[in-house]
């Protein structure tokens, strides 16, 4: 994944809570075997509505999404992250998120920012008042800023995720460096495997 130090751009407020991953990318889109092209399916059940916030001309080209509590709950589909990133979002700000969604985001370099509900509401109000304002999400400094409005907040991020974002590290390469520890563990592991249970055609022997 690409390193991410700072995300700068315009933001779009999605004033809804419990936006689940079925809303982010409906299941019809999950049949594909590719990893690209999911941006067209982003929020597709809502995109027909001209009043939907992503359809408003002011917000075209925004790279930061600001949402209500519990964003990304539900299904484990990483396609939700692929869709958000393919559409052009690089950071999501909300009061809380679904756990699996946060994990999936960290693997792709989508920056997840948790602010308090009050701060999120204040940020949404600032953006609604002037959608052209620049918003800065600084992963290195762990800070969200709207420079023109003097808005500045610190955010927490787990140190390992921060390092991975800043360096663009690939988890698998890192884990493979620990090969000998994995092999040692496997030599003592007690749980049974499937060896000998099924024949080549998958029938129980």
């Amino acid at each position: 994944m690409k390193p991410v130090r700072v995300v700068e751009g315009r933001a779009v407020p999605l004033e809804r809570s419990d936006v689940d991953t079925d809303q982010i990318i409906p299941s019809d889109w999950l049949k594909r075997v590719e990893r690209t092209g999911f941006g067209r399916g982003l929020f597709s059940e809502w995109r027909d509505d001209p009043g939907f916030v992503l359809n408003r001309p002011n917000f075209v080209g925004a790279s930061i999404l600001i949402a209500g509590p519990r964003f990304g709950i539900g299904s484990s589909r990483e396609h939700a992250v692929w869709a958000l990133m393919d559409y052009g979002f690089e950071a999501i700000i909300a009061p809380s998120f679904g756990d699996i969604f946060v994990n999936n985001s960290s693997k792709q370099g989508l920056v997840i920012v948790v602010l308090t509900l009050t701060d999120v509401e204040e940020l949404m109000a600032l953006i609604n008042a002037d959608p052209t304002q620049l918003v800065v999400v600084d992963v290195d400094q762990q800070r969200v800023e709207v420079p023109e409005a003097g808005f500045q907040r610190h955010f927490e991020i787990d140190p390992m995720t921060r390092e991975r974002l800043l360096n663009g590290w690939d988890d698998i390469s890192l884990t493979l460096l620990r090969e000998s520890a994995i092999a040692d563990f496997e030599s003592t592991e007690e749980a049974p495997s499937l060896k000998g249970i099924f024949d080549d055609a998958g029938h129980v022997r």
């Binding site: 689940d20 539900g74 990483e78 988890d171 049974p192």
Partner: protein, 467 residues
């Protein structure tokens, strides 16, 4: 002073390879794979010249997008067909056992793991599906992962993880007659809310949990994710051991007894403490239904549709208004007066033999109401064969239900089993999100018994109304 360990801590500690800093490298005993969240992972392995580290700890089945038409009917959607073919090709290439559409062991991944005895106490189990929590019913630490993590497990048989917090949800006392495991699950989700379990592994405890069959415990653990938790757990007891005895993948004879003795250690110590504790009185739980568009929006089957005016919190008020508008419902309407169009009995929540027996006992000698389409989709071919051996298929067919081939089906509407716009469905599945079962569809989550009674009455109905 040494303190006891929770079931979660025991399994966790058994699987720690290394713990540098805050992240632990955790060993994964069993990786379950299906067609939807795996193709991009296999593709990435190929691009990076990596293999599958332990194919014998990996098991694959087709479930999410398979049609439930007779197996002789080809898969008409070319995109779905391509994905099903990709699963078979990838498993062949990397040496993984796979059950394709129509295979005698094929079915919903969270149904086949337990019924084959592949799911065992004390294991770590992952799958690219959030309802992997189901396997926690066996005292296994089981959780859903995304495609990048699927790739990570394929390549390394491990996952970097941060340890979750532990939560005890204790159901004191026993449930009343007519209250099912699904009603317990809905009561828990309703109590915790959609985010209440975030960051936690939940252990379900108390007499009302102990009284449940393995099928019932799977239903409860299945919906842990609906409360935001990664995993649910139930301690091992006689019910667990007896379910596993004679399953195809468990040891035989004396070796089974040795394994069972080890499995029995997968319980929380008496002096173990939990970071969060929730108490529910089992006798307060009633047959329930969701009315809205998230699974915490639950009301008694005997109740009425709630009003936004009852809500103090502005966010909850707005959410309620949105949900009511989407669902096409008016506050104050008695639930049991609302007509339905479709009944779906199936999904990893409620498609096991016990669920089908419960539904069939109500369908027996009755007819699906005119204008209602009612589908029964067994969770696996093994469940289907068992049900047919018991004559349940004929009971359903005689009553006007469709008896279909196994798969995830209308739970998420990836295959042709979908709701049309504004169609109202009594569904035994786990999610009532907007558009989940088909664009514009309206989902109400219920137990198999309530689903069957509603099919007969043509509106939401309680089983007692039929007698």
């Amino acid at each position: 002073m040494p303190t006891g360990r929770t079931l979660f801590e025991k399994i966790w500690e058994d699987h720690v390879i290394e713990s540098p800093g805050e992240q632990t490298l955790l060993y994964i005993d069993l990786h379950l794979v299906h067609e939807v969240t795996s193709p991009q992972a296999f593709e990435s392995l190929r691009l990076n010249g990596r293999g599958v580290r332990r194919p014998e700890r990996t098991l694959a089945t087709a479930d999410h997008n398979v049609p439930t038409d007779p197996i002789s009917t080809p898969v008409s959607d070319p995109v779905s067909r391509r994905q099903l073919e990709a699963l078979e090709e990838n498993c062949e290439e990397f040496g993984i056992t796979v059950f394709p559409r129509g295979h005698e062991n094929q079915g919903i991944v969270h149904v086949i793991g337990p019924e084959l005895g592949v799911t065992q106490p004390g294991m770590t189990i992952v799958c690219g599906d959030s309802h992997t929590s189901t396997h926690g019913a066996f005292g296994a630490l089981a959780f859903g992962i995304g495609t990048s993590e699927v790739e990570h497990v394929l390549a390394t048989q491990t996952l970097p993880q941060q340890k979750a917090k532990s939560m005890a949800v204790t159901l004191e006392g026993s449930v009343r007659p007519g209250v099912s495991a699904k009603d317990i699950a809905l009561a828990i989700v309703s109590t915790l809310g959609t985010g209440g379990g975030a960051g936690h592994v939940i252990e379900y405890r108390g007499d009302a949990i102990r009284d449940l069959s393995m099928e019932g415990r799977m239903t409860v653990c299945n919906m842990s994710i609906e409360a935001g938790a990664r995993a649910g757990l139930v301690a091992v007891d006689d019910t667990t051991i007896e379910y596993l005895r004679s399953r195809p993948s468990v040891p035989k004879g004396d070796e089974f007894e040795t394994a069972a003795a080890r499995w029995r250690t997968f319980v929380s110590d008496e002096d173990a403490t939990f970071e969060t504790e929730i108490l529910l009185r089992a006798e307060d739980i009633v047959p329930s239904i969701t009315w809205g568009t998230n699974p915490a929006q639950v009301v008694s089957l005997d109740g009425v549709i709630p009003s936004p005016d009852e809500m103090d919190d502005p966010d909850e008020k707005a959410t309620t208004e949105r949900s009511l508008a989407y669902m096409g419902l008016t506050p104050g309407t008695p639930v049991r007066s609302i007509p339905i169009d479709v009944v779906f009995i199936g999904s990893c929540t409620n498609s096991r033999i016990e669920d089908l027996r419960a539904a069939a006992s109500l369908a027996q000698g009755r007819q699906v109401a005119e204008g209602v389409r009612a589908l029964v989709v067994p969770g696996s071919h093994r469940v289907k064969r068992q049900a047919e051996a018991e004559g349940l298929d004929q009971v359903f067919l005689d009553a006007g239900f469709e008896w279909r081939e196994p798969g995830c089906s209308m739970c998420l509407g990836m295959n042709p089993d979908q709701l049309g716009a504004e169609m109202r469905c009594a569904s035994t599945s786990n999610r009532n999100f907007e558009g989940r079962q088909g664009r514009g569809g309206r989902t109400h989550l219920v137990s198999p018994a309530v689903a069957a009674a509603s099919a007969v009455m043509g509106r939401f109905a309680s089983p007692e109304e039929l007698s």
